[in-house]
């Protein structure tokens, strides 16, 4: 067993993965903690936040590491991590993602080179900011972003033994799927090599505060019995982060307005208008997609008999430019 010594052996070293369901943050945390406990002679715990475990919904995964003889008693989530790993660029725009970031800590995020992130300014000055294009590496290596990000994490946090983490990752797949094991290994190694340390991005003073979101309603303001008298108020939700790199693009001139896509879209995000042409019967026409709700499943494309819906890579700002809103701003309360 390798001896890995924590930067502060009397305390805990804490890591928080910020992700959405389907990107493998839970598995990554598990592999890391397993490697640490069984092969690095550390004590550790691992757990993830659970809501409904649907693909596309936010997931936080926590790894708490301590010296071998330090008991772990708390089961509370990690508020002020030493490292935050962000699996999806879009999450970077949310304060909660980087809440509790330490000035002495490290932030690793998944994103392509040269993508401006004004948001990073909020990060403490002293925080080391590391970028890695995990999505693209994962695609190229037929792996998943979690393998890449584990590689980056172990390369940038010296006491974590990369070889041990990699072998633990490989063990998980070796038996069931040797091909995946090889892909993951390549992805992991590229993650450990191709990262970039961004200098001078954080402008914040001191650690970022911990955020404890309080509910909107309390016992004096909530209708009794948990009743929700606000019909259809999920329209204020924004599900854009459910898309993982692609989106459907609508080309009006190719559309024959057959309505087939409406029967398959699980997210009701297609926008229709009612047009009356002269004396003719009214016709219903497809105007476009409200990307606030589109999860990028591509079922509309699969169903469309023409080329009106096509799959495109989602570049920054594209969805905003192409969006046709279903509801007025007031209705969504956004």
């Amino acid at each position: 067993m390798n001896e890995c010594v924590l930067p502060d052996p009397s305390g805990f070293f804490e890591i928080r993965f910020e992700s959405i369901g389907g990107l493998g943050a839970h598995a990554a945390g598990q592999i890391l903690a397993r490697a640490a406990v069984l092969k690095m002679n550390l004590n550790g715990s691992h757990f993830s936040s659970y809501g409904s475990e649907k693909k596309g919904s936010p997931v936080r995964s926590y790894v708490r590491l301590g010296a071998a003889d330090k008991p772990i008693r708390t089961s509370a989530p990690i508020d002020s991590p030493d490292v935050i790993v962000v699996f999806h660029g879009a999450l970077l725009d949310q304060d909660i993602t980087i809440a509790g970031m330490k000035n002495s800590g490290t932030l690793i995020f998944n994103g392509p080179a040269d993508e401006a992130h004004e948001f990073l300014e909020k990060i403490p000055k002293g925080t080391r900011v590391v970028r890695i294009d995990a999505t693209n590496i994962a695609i190229e290596e037929l792996s998943r972003p979690n393998a890449v990000l584990l590689g980056t994490l172990t390369a940038t946090v010296p006491f974590l033994d990369g070889d041990i983490v990699l072998s633990t990752l490989t063990e998980k797949f070796a038996k069931r799927n040797p091909q995946a094991a090889a892909s993951n290994e390549r992805a992991f190694k590229r993650g450990a090599e191709e990262y970039e340390v961004l200098e001078g991005v954080g402008k914040g003073e001191g650690d970022l505060p911990v955020i404890r979101p309080s509910p909107v309603l309390g016992y004096e303001t909530a209708p009794i019995g948990g009743v929700i008298p606000y019909a259809g108020n999920t329209v204020s939700n924004d599900l854009s982060t459910s898309r993982t790199g692609w989106m459907p693009l609508f080309t009006a001139k190719e559309c024959i307005h057959c309505g087939l896509c409406a029967t398959v879209c699980p997210d009701f995000c297609l926008v229709w208008t009612h047009e009356q042409e002269g004396e003719e019967v009214p016709v219903v026409r497809l105007k476009g997609v409200d990307y606030q709700y589109c999860k990028g499943c591509m079922r509309c494309i699969e169903t469309c008999p023409t080329e009106a819906m096509t799959r495109v890579t989602e570049t920054p700002g594209l969805a905003d430019r192409e969006r046709v809103p279903l509801y007025s701003q007031g209705a969504t309360g956004a």
Binding site: L38, Y219, T221, Y230, A231, P266, Q292
Partner: protein, 770 residues
């Protein structure tokens, strides 16, 4: 699996003791630890029904079973009531029996628990504790196990994964002890312990473990015909009270037996469990009394406060039933003030059960001066962290100092609300006119009595406002929503829906948001149909009495998953036999998807689910899929249909007919094959192709049974589109293993059964009297 063998083991407090049995270190969650213990014990039978957060016990055992690591007979019940029955029956046979559940599952089983304990039949039930409904909350509190306090079961507590493993071993010995003979419940905190992975030492020395466990011995068994016995006689006064006295004596005996077994466990493992866990209590002036994971958090804070010179301690229990009354009384005799944290309320009793019992324990001591404060905390999974523990300590310290109790009973960590904060108000109610546009026109042919449905083109329907708003949280590509959308496109007028528990319910109603634009009710899936039938009859009664303003014309629709038609079958058939005017729509995604894809009775043979895993020894589900439409057909309701989201027009026609029948004649039922990319393991956009072959292979026949007459509405054979079932199975990750060599027999069995059922439907189609 870990291989490091530790000769020297750590006990609970971190000290080292020489262990007897060799052990290895692993990294396990509480649920995995329970499963590992089950494997090591080698139970004979497990009866279970999945429920978060305890499901992983069965899932882990299913994986191990597929890999040939154990031979426990695992029986997926039709619900927790059924699971409890299976376990009771199995235990009557004298072998070792296991179950795992949580929350509503424990409550649904509750009725069986006293039956089992009072007839003195041991088994082990793991409970990953979770809040109970209403408002359905999947996270931890103790409201479920508080209901178990009066069941007459032994209750052991496990505050971390290691303890879950150890308590399961101890449970066997305690329950089977000749002086006890009671079933044992092992309770650990949902998520905090059930899902948190920690270092766990597991026993490698199988022989030492078997010596510790011994062989199960039973004074009476239902499997010895040479010694016939009667279990469960009819018994009134004056006998029953004596039976209860025996039960009470067994609990008293357990007070002795439990510490003895814990001592033997220590010899086996090196880990020591006192029945009462006292931390810094020797000279404590104030203390917190807490159960399970919260007590561990409090210990950290106690260390810190001790460092500041404050005499604080933490009292917690490893044994909740029998309640260690004497030990608590002794431990608290010199303590000035305590805060008892209750992770569930006993509404109106001025304290949760733990507080009430602690207060009762100390009042026996005439000299006791301890002030007791009760705090209800951490409900529904609300975290209990250092700051919370510190606040409790401070309240106790203040009380100790002043000798005055400011507030005996209070909720901790609640939020009153801010009148300036608002929930988004959503969308206006849908006007009746907007959804009454004749998208489907149903007419009855006066001569033949047949219904004719005329549909508007799909593009015209695209504009009908959806009764479900966007913004719900289903997975990308989820089929349940196209199903609902297609049905709702043709339903005319006002609709009230009841959703049973499942994905569609959970993803549409995350408080304080709802995707439903029409009135929606959730009731748990064991009872949705009965609930809706009650509402239907109230509606008719109010109408009849002229008490419903504006006499709305409402259609009542119950939406359920296929799993809801397992656990809720009784309720649904009851409603069918009463023939209420309502529709039942089942979106069939072939599994319990909301809880992480366990097998349902609608899961076909050989399919992989998280409770029918694939490995060298097992290859997916071992029984065929349930034929729910034929069951409803046999209930002789006016209209039964099957459909798929892949054929919108066919589904829409049937939905329109179902509405007509529900209005005019009574109950209707429809089973709709519904795509689940996450758990069928396909791409998100594979719905069409996968569903198409499911139908063209005749695995899922598309037909209706109208007033008893069967009519196939899409016949792949007639259309020359029949395909092989393997074409369907090859398209999904969950069935890929069936394509590999060595599965020919299983494939043949699937084909044969599908073919047999298809032929039957065809015969019915051809012979109206069938």
């Amino acid at each position: 699996m870990a291989t490091e063998i530790h000769a020297v083991l750590q006990d609970q407090d971190g000290g080292n003791t020489a262990g007897v049995a060799s052990q290895s270190t692993d990294f396990l969650s509480g649920n995995e630890a329970a499963a590992r213990a089950a494997r090591d014990i080698g139970f004979h039978v497990m009866g279970y029904f999945p429920i978060t957060p305890s499901t992983e016990v069965a899932e882990t055992l299913s994986k191990m079973q597929a890999a040939g690591e154990h031979e426990i007979m695992m029986i997926p019940a039709d619900g927790e009531h059924g699971a409890a029955g299976i376990c009771y029956g199995a235990a009557l046979g004298g072998g070792r029996v296991l179950n795992a559940t949580s929350s509503q599952g424990l409550l649904y089983a509750l009725e069986q628990l006293p039956v089992q304990s009072s007839t003195r039949v041991p088994m082990v039930l793991n409970v990953a504790t979770r809040a109970i409904s209403g408002p359905l909350d999947i996270r931890c509190d103790h409201s479920d196990i508080y209901f178990a306090l009066n069941t007459g079961w032994i209750i052991l507590l496990a505050r971390e994964p290691q303890a879950v493993y150890d308590m399961n071993l101890a449970a066997i010995r305690i329950g089977e002890h000749a002086d006890v003979r009671l079933p044992v419940l092992v309770a650990y905190d949902g998520f905090f312990t059930s899902h948190q992975k920690r270092r766990v030492e597991v026993i490698e020395d199988k022989q030492a473990l078997q010596e510790f466990l011994g062989t199960p011995e039973t004074p009476f068994t239902a499997l010895d015909p040479r010694h016939p016995v009667t279990f469960g006689p009819y018994m009134n006064d004056p006998d029953l009270i004596n039976n209860k006295k025996q039960h009470s004596l067994a609990m008293e005996a357990a007070r002795q037996v439990i510490p003895e077994v814990f001592e033997e466990l220590e010899k086996l493992t090196g880990r020591r469990y006192p029945v009462m866990d006292s931390y810094h209590m020797e000279d404590a002036e104030v203390a917190l009394v807490l159960l399970n994971s919260a007590a561990e958090t409090a210990k950290e804070v106690a260390d810190r406060l001790r460092g500041e010179g404050k005499k604080v301690g933490v009292l917690s229990l490893n044994m909740l039933r029998p309640f260690p009354t004497d030990l608590i009384r002794q431990a608290l005799s010199g303590v000035k003030a305590i805060v008892v944290g209750d992770r569930a309320d006993s509404y109106g009793a001025d304290g949760g059960n733990l507080s009430l019992e602690v207060r009762a324990a100390i009042q026996v001591d005439p000299d006791n001066r301890t002030r007791v404060l009760t705090r209800i905390y951490g409900l529904g999974g609300k975290d209990f962290d250092d700051a919370d523990a510190e606040e409790f300590f401070n309240e106790a310290l203040e009380t100790a100092e002043t000798g005055e109790v400011k507030e005996v009973f209070a909720y901790h960590g609640t939020y009153a609300g801010d009148p300036d904060k608002h929930v988004p108000h959503g969308l206006p109610a849908i006007e009746k006119g907007e959804v009454t546009r004749g998208m489907a026109t149903v007419t009855e042919n006066p001569e033949t009595g047949k219904l004719n449905v005329e549909l508007k083109p799909l593009w015209a329907m695209a504009e009908v406002p959806s009764r479900i708003a966007p913004g719900h949280g289903a997975c990308p590509g989820c089929g349940a929503f196209p199903v609902l959308h297609q049905v709702f496109s043709v339903l005319e007028g006002d609709v009230v829906v009841l959703f049973q528990t499942g994905c569609a319910m959970v993803v549409t109603t995350g408080y304080p948001k709802t995707a439903h634009r029409i009135t929606y009710i959730h009731n748990l899936f064991q009872n949705g149909a009965a609930t809706l039938s009650g509402l239907v009859e109230m509606y008719h009664e109010l109408l009849r009495r002229g008490e419903l303003p504006d006499s709305p014309d409402i259609t009542f629709v119950m939406v359920t998953g296929d799993g809801g038609m397992d656990i809720g079958m009784g309720s649904a058939l009851g409603a069918a036999h009463r023939n209420h005017h309502m529709m039942i729509l089942e979106y069939d995604n072939q599994g319990y998807m909301n809880t992480g894809a366990q097998l349902s009775y609608s899961t076909p043979l050989g399919h992989r689910t998280s409770t029918s895993e694939v490995g060298s020894k097992r290859k997916g589900k071992v029984t065929h899929h349930k034929d729910t439409p034929q069951i409803f057909s046999a209930a002789h309701v006016p209209y039964v249909f099957t459909a798929s989201e892949g054929y919108p027009e066919d589904l829409m026609r049937k939905a329109a007919k179902a509405q007509w029948y529900a209005k005019n004649e009574g109950m209707t039922y429809g089973k709709i094959l519904s795509f689940c990319p996450l758990n069928w393991t396909t791409t998100d956009d594979a719905a069409e192709s996968v569903l198409q072959v499911a139908i063209d292979s005749c695995f899922f026949p598309i037909y209706e049974v109208e007033r008893g007459i069967t009519n196939i509405t899409y016949d792949p054979e007639v259309l020359g589109r029949r395909r092989k079932i393997t074409e369907w199975l090859g398209r999904m990750g969950k069935t890929k293993h069936l394509m590999a060599e060595g599965n020919e027999q299983r494939l043949a069995a699937i084909e044969e059964e599908a073919e047999r059922r298809w032929r039957r439907i065809k015969a019915m189609h051809e012979h109206p009297e069938l």
